[in-house]
Point group: C4
Chain length 235, copies 4
């Protein structure tokens, strides 16, 4: 047994990665969760291409915000640089999740924002779920995963979105990324996104002219859970 540092984020990353198959969000190795340690400027992330049943806290890889491995014998997830860019620029997030969950990925492939149709959506965010366009060719041919991070950052900037309020995005033609103050919250957001994505598709199938949720309901439901006078959950 080697003597590993970063035990807290290793264990948190391991626990959160193991939630993905339990929640039905991943097939085989399609997905990864990371957990950051802001004080040390590193995050723990799933090793690349390793089946969930072979994961352990010990084989999580420790990476810095440039995407360089600090500790670990295995290669980190191929999406590591996307995580690194987000941690570097968004200082309030504690965990990031990437999956190819079925319905969210179908929306990403459709290159459409997910319209806000109901309170299940409004309990979590007040806008449509954004879908960033596919990247420009020069970004793809270059440092692809690094540029994916900037595609996300720029989409938020260009559309006036705040990553502390909208904790999820679809990358066009690719798949979703979610985040949160903790990895646990980021995983929760991935499951919520998948459910909301399925409900939105079904809603359009039942009524192709279904209206978006009206502003008063958006505001009410979000404030129930998130406003200064929130009254959902325990204090």
């Amino acid at each position: 047994m080697a003597n590993f540092n970063y035990q807290d984020i290793r264990e948190a990353a391991y626990e959160s990665n193991m939630q993905l198959p339990k929640l039905g969000l991943v097939l085989f190795t399609f997905g990864n969760v990371s957990v950051v340690d802001r004080a040390k400027g590193v995050f723990a992330i799933k090793p690349s291409g390793v089946p969930y049943e072979k994961l352990s806290p010990e084989n999580m890889v420790i990476v810095d915000f440039e995407g360089d491995t600090i500790e670990g014998d295995m290669r980190p997830s191929s999406d590591t640089k996307t995580h690194a860019v987000l941690y570097k620029h968004w200082e309030n997030i504690g965990g990031i999740v990437h999956t190819h969950s079925t319905y969210a990925t179908a929306w990403a492939q459709s290159q459409r924002d997910i319209p806000i149709f109901g309170t299940t959506h409004a309990d979590h965010l007040t806008t449509d779920i954004p879908c960033a366009p596919p990247m420009a060719d020069h970004m793809i041919k270059g440092n692809y995963e690094y540029e994916t991070g900037f595609q996300i950052l720029n989409h938020f900037k260009d559309h006036g979105l705040d990553y502390r309020e909208v904790e999820m995005i679809l990358v066009g033609n690719h798949a979703p990324f979610t985040w949160g103050k903790t990895a646990e919250k980021a995983v929760y957001n991935s499951a919520v996104l998948e459910t909301v994505a399925q409900m939105a598709l079904l809603t359009e199938q039942i009524n192709p002219n279904a209206p978006r949720l009206k502003d008063s309901l958006i505001k009410k439901h979000f404030e129930r859970k998130h406003g200064p006078d929130s009254y959902y959950g325990q204090q």
Copy 2:
């Protein structure tokens, strides 16, 4: 261990709440069941935002028909006032369930009644499953969950529906509520609603001109189960 009263409804509420994840009707904490004690004028309901695996009879919250907590250290479900209004005005119901189950919620988001297409539906009610419109802005901005209860009561009144015969409703843009003489029946109704909602969507996809069930079949199937000469189930 504190010394709790209302043990019967605590246990019944706990058992019924635990049925929701088993029946696939809830993700995380999206749902709640309550059980009333008519003699004491109170009901037991799930605490707000607590995961199902942490529920126990002891942490169910006891609330009166004004929605005020009578016993319990935790906040009751954020939907508590909706339950309170229904118990107060509909004296024959013993339990209420609220979920965001996928297909029923998609119909609610579509703001359409679920058409009665077959006997699976008619075995349980003889009308389309009603969808109340989204509430007026002043109701939303005010005492929202309390007004949700009145939105349901008024929709039944305006459409001549009897809550003893139609034990479920969709609240437009939101999600379903179901009820019954017991919480067990209300949970059963939630699962039936989800299945009927899925079948109705599939029916329209297979045949966009599918006709509603004819009156003679509606009558027959409902009376098999519910009429004075019912012959379904044991005596």
Copy 3:
């Protein structure tokens, strides 16, 4: 413990009924299987409205071909007379299954035959899966379940179908019935029907002009499994 007769068909009916929830074909008590004893002129069938987890060989009800109970303290399934009519007129069937499985029921509600689109279907039957029209009002108002049996018999007669080759039907606005030489085969047919029903819907969604399977393939696949020179399975 009472001293029961008909132990063989009781146990076979019990075992086959218990397959329905395992195969995902029923919710709560929506479904029933019966097994016939031709020599004694009776069949064993699920009691009405009893949850699957409370079934036992002992509480199966023994009924004759007129639908009258021969042995058993409980009411037989409300669909018992339909089973009785089919056993009486179709002497080569050993078991019957009725479910409200989701996709098959959606086709029944759509009042459409399920087109033969592929070899999964052709491995089991060479025609579209028939959907009998909803019954005439006088049949519904009269001895409904008895008439349901005749609706099935007459649809087969009118369309030149042979119940030994086509072991399933959709009853319009209602749900499927399947049968077979044994109850095990009838249960198998219910699961095959549900899968074929789902595939057919998806096929039309992917290609609204998808052609029906051509005759040479229909013939080949059915004969692989069922013809005099069949070579599927063990001898």
Copy 4:
């Protein structure tokens, strides 16, 4: 206990066959996996029509590249000759899988290639997933399963596809075949195909004009996993 040879491929075939029900790719006996031993010129394949729970390494059937049984008391899968033809002509494959998985089969029934809509697809192959047309009547009436193998070979030849890069095909009106360097990889490909097939259908439902993935992204994602500079997974 008989004294069996070919123990390695028996065990590998058994293990891979048992993965199919675990991955939700088969109902009852609908599916089969084979594993080849190139040195001995034989492969091990599932016996025909035997339920998965009764499989064992011992009842796998050993067959040569003409489709003749070399060892085993049971009949091999009715699709054995298709496997034999592929092994004979494609010398780099180590395992073959045939299933009737729901979404892939629906695409096969629709007689459409599955468009490449996203990176989930591009991580595995750079082209649409090919759908071979239904066979000509004389091929069906003749040595059907043998000709199915040639239908696959010819479709690849006619469309300039390389079986080492495109490890899956839909046979029109029938169902998918997948392969790989190992049976484990072939099973993996079957599960990937089913997921990609579902995502592609959902994508078209969300956006009927969804564009195919652009070339730069196709190239990037495939090379991440498969090119000379691949950086997915461990070395």
